[in-house]
Symmetry: D2
């Protein structure tokens, strides 16, 4: 029988469990051989759902790493373990798909990249699920083919019902363009979760990132949407415009009711992007087995994280941050005194 | 000051009152000089709303017809008076805009046309409001320009919340194409107004009209819609398709609510087509003043009425009606015996 | 490891090959163990695509039926073999998923059902892919929950770019309601494929099916669409309306271009319904393994085929067909003489 | 006959001419009695289009102001004359509808307000056409009724094909909320009109305005759109969201073509908002005749202009501007030294 990639998943929380099932059942060229989680409840789930299909379970990541024949690891546990586990997996000679963010710290993220560069034959990727979404791909294909001239403005909104992670860092969800950042500004407000104020966090934020060369990206992120997940992206080019999900709908049904016509929308990020996660598993597997190039560079994750960090810093300081043409922060005059 | 067309309106019920106000206030080249209605309540409304602007009120149609300087009459009273009043107005040398239908009887309708042909300098038109709707016009312009090849199939639905007029005859609302009818079939059902059964009427009907030469039109009409007025037309051509109102919306607002995204739609036929009625008044006025050709021929109204009558006959008899290439009914063999 | 259903696919043409790959890679609880096709080219494809994964290939259906441990067969070859192979598979004690139609002949279809009833422990299903489409399911769930009152009118259109199979029989694609047919009328026209005339076939057809009890279904089918596959269904109830794909779009991208805003749509039936086919494979597998009830009854396929046959007969004879309250054809008076 | 408001229009350029025709023909309760423009070409147009209807033409604004019986003036000429002419008209005891902006200078705008306050019986209004748009009204009505909880975030985009006026000041198009500004940031880029660089102007701009109390408004304005005018507004509340024109379309027609489904959109701001301009004329007239309250306060125009000026200053200086809780600019430390 044709060879299948031997994969393990670290972390069986909500996202990790989804990854595990996707590798078990929806990634034909991969075989899920191992999974680990220190949490007994997560392991109990795995005993029921994964073990019957021949998946070996571990409490300890490093023991799992030693699983015989293991070729690739999906790092999907708590954020603080993303970078350390990725590094150990790379050092053990495994391909790595690490959930985002690599780290909330730019230096630590960069270290993952540095380690990865010592093993250039390994595939090391972060999980930018939108990159695997059919609509985003179709749009980027059109933009890259010059169909809208030269892209100038990007508007992106990521709007969820509930969010409990660190807010502005989530901007790193959107892979950054290759241009050099010129300025970053972010403002935010607390509309429904008063408790966030004490954490220096917000439930609605707006940011602008200006790049050297004339491009501008602006963002809106929210965790108070009523109808559901409404992520929208627009790319405005010199000669055309592309929109992705400007007119959201969950499926093709509309309800004609006494107060109008209604359609339902995806409730969560995973609802919206589930097929993209499956495609991600399959393309990562294919890249490992056939030594194909990954669809994007790991360095982009650090660039995105940097921008997320800048947005957060701009929000917290109340300042607009400026950068020179090499991307270095411009320290304010006053501070020099 | 530039000359304005001297217009009178006969019948001040719901539609007649709208026509009167449209001529009074929204038809710059027309001057509403007279109005009549036998009903005291309608006249009381007119005394308040029209008389202050110099409109002379009459109880009697023929007295109004003798109003000095009168040039054009809008016939908008009860259906049984449409044809008689139109004929008298034409004979008195007035331009006529007659609400549809001219009559529910084909022979009587034809008589209006015959009389109109004795006064070819007069403008005589029936009120096919869709012909004045911007979207229908845009679509028909595209179809006539060959943008969808040769039109083959027309689907039309006229779906209201409430209707108390004679049902199938309302198909005459849609002006018929110039082709010769080959067959007519209609079926109907009573879903919410049980009382209609006794009248031989329905609240939902579906019909097919086949034309010699290969065109087919099919219709759905309903008076039980929940969300509002949902009139939709599709024209399928050999090389493209046009839709009108396939994705209804009242205005440009959408409501994001916990159970989805909602938009409201027009509640009534007049809500949907109000701008078309105003355009109708203005174009009729322009045709009269400048002796321009009307946008469609009066004969079409008789053709449309014939088809409406056939649909009704098909529904009531439970038969498919067939016609030869000159449009004459094909009498069934059995009947010939 | 958990037990997987041992499945074989008969017929590796376009649809059969898709079924084979879906069972191989996208149906976790099934194992594709065998496939057959008399055509050397199809077998060559299978040698490359299926054999490496342990699938045994056969030229002969009956030899494949004897494959050790085989539990279920997907019958997806030429239409004339659907019924014979299904019958032999049932007699051999296999579960059967038979592509539609069971047969273009009502009596032969009924025979499959009769044979199936002799083995009530077997799952025998036809491939009504729309029944597995998320949007259709959501709509039918709402309708069944009474959200639109009592369904009264169904409009269904199935519009493809190209079609080379027998036309009206394809109406059988739409599972029929359980009500008794009262009348059937169909008309059609040839707009772009003049060669169809000689075959007594059309490229655009419109039909009405009236049911005893007051329901009406009407259909439009076409094989001349320019933009792509545009299948739409509306269900009008006494107190609401559901639409499925009234506003088609392939994905969530829109292109803003000098001549307007454009979106692309699915090009083929499979493009539109691919996820439904995968769900069908999975649910059929689950029903076989867990002895669950199938989502619809096989008898519906015969009812749908009967209606398709009536539509074809109505079109070919130019007559409206009528039926009594037990569903028996009402023979015309004249014929009785 | 019922009394009609005696109106004059100053300035017969593109917008002035539209106002003149709207008052002449589409504002039943107003009578256009006079118009002025120093430009012979504009007067030639007026001689042909207005004079036949009894409109007296003037070269000089002040002569026109002395027209006997004149009650109201529409100031629609060049921007630099907006404030001076408005002031003279108010001083002469006329109602004033002044096209926006009152002035590009905040102090001058304020002076108009100050003068207006000396004549409280006069109606003085600026032309915020969106306030008269049916969709904006419907949305604001819903927001004011609490249907989306408390509004938190406003996104507004104003995207034209061509623009040759002063860019950022145009933000003043959007009436500002009553809250006090906390910070303003704007960035911009030149994508298609290189000549704008020399003028310190841009063809694409993004801005954020933060208000004390927690509201945020963010803007995107562009003059390089391909498909046409695409103005969109979103209002996000604590418990719902409203969108206006999120899914633009010019009318109800869609074209099914080989490369997809296409709809056309409004080409210009006037195309999009024409009915709003007509409603504006009628409501201004009604307010003057019946001494009704105007739909919004003149002071809002100054607030909007201030914000536009801040955005421009932020763009030109490259700084984020901050304000204290009374709305006073916070001067940077360094400047104090």
């Amino acid at each position: 029988m044709a060879r299948r990639l031997q994969v393990a998943v670290s972390g069986l929380g909500r996202m990790g469990a989804r990854h595990a099932v996707n590798y078990l059942e929806r990634t034909p060229r991969a075989q899920l051989v191992a999974a680990c989680d220190p949490d007994p409840q997560a392991l109990a789930w795995a005993k029921d759902r994964l073990e019957p299909y021949g998946v070996t379970l571990y409490r300890d990541f490093d023991e799992m790493l030693a699983h015989e024949g293991l070729e690739a690891v999906v790092v999907a546990g708590i954020t603080t373990e993303h970078a350390p586990q990725s590094i150990r997996a790379i050092q053990a000679g495994k391909h790595v798909l690490c959930e985002k963010p690599l780290s909330t710290d730019v230096a630590i993220s960069q270290k993952v990249i540095d380690v990865a560069q010592t093993k250039p034959h390994l595939k090391v990727m972060t999980g930018f699920s939108r990159r695997f979404d059919e609509s985003y791909r179709s749009a980027f294909r059109s933009a890259n083919a010059g169909e809208i001239g030269k892209p100038v403005i990007v508007r992106s909104q990521t709007c969820d019902k509930f969010r409990d992670d660190d807010y502005f860092v989530n901007y790193s969800k959107t892979p950054a363009p290759s241009s050099v950042v010129k300025s970053v500004t972010a403002v935010g407000t607390v509309a429904r979760y008063p408790g966030l104020k004490a954490l220096g966090d917000v439930d609605n934020g707006v940011g602008i990132v200006e790049f050297w060369g004339g491009k501008i990206a602006y963002f809106y992120a929210s965790r108070i949407m009523s109808a559901g997940q409404t992520d929208t992206t627009e790319v405005i080019g010199t000669h055309g415009k592309l929109t992705i999900n400007a007119n959201p709908g969950n499926n093709l049904v509309e309800f004609h009711e006494p107060n109008g016509i209604r359609r339902e929308i995806a409730q969560t990020y995973y609802d919206r992007f589930e097929p993209a996660f499956v495609r991600e598993s399959n393309e990562f597997t294919e890249a490992c087995l056939d030594d194909k190039e990954l669809p994007f560079k790991l360095q982009g994750a650090v660039q995105a994280l940097k921008i997320g960090t800048y947005l957060q810093e701009s929000f917290r300081s109340g300042k607009k941050l400026s950068f020179d043409e090499s991307g270095e922060p411009i320290v304010e005059e006053k501070a020099k005194l």
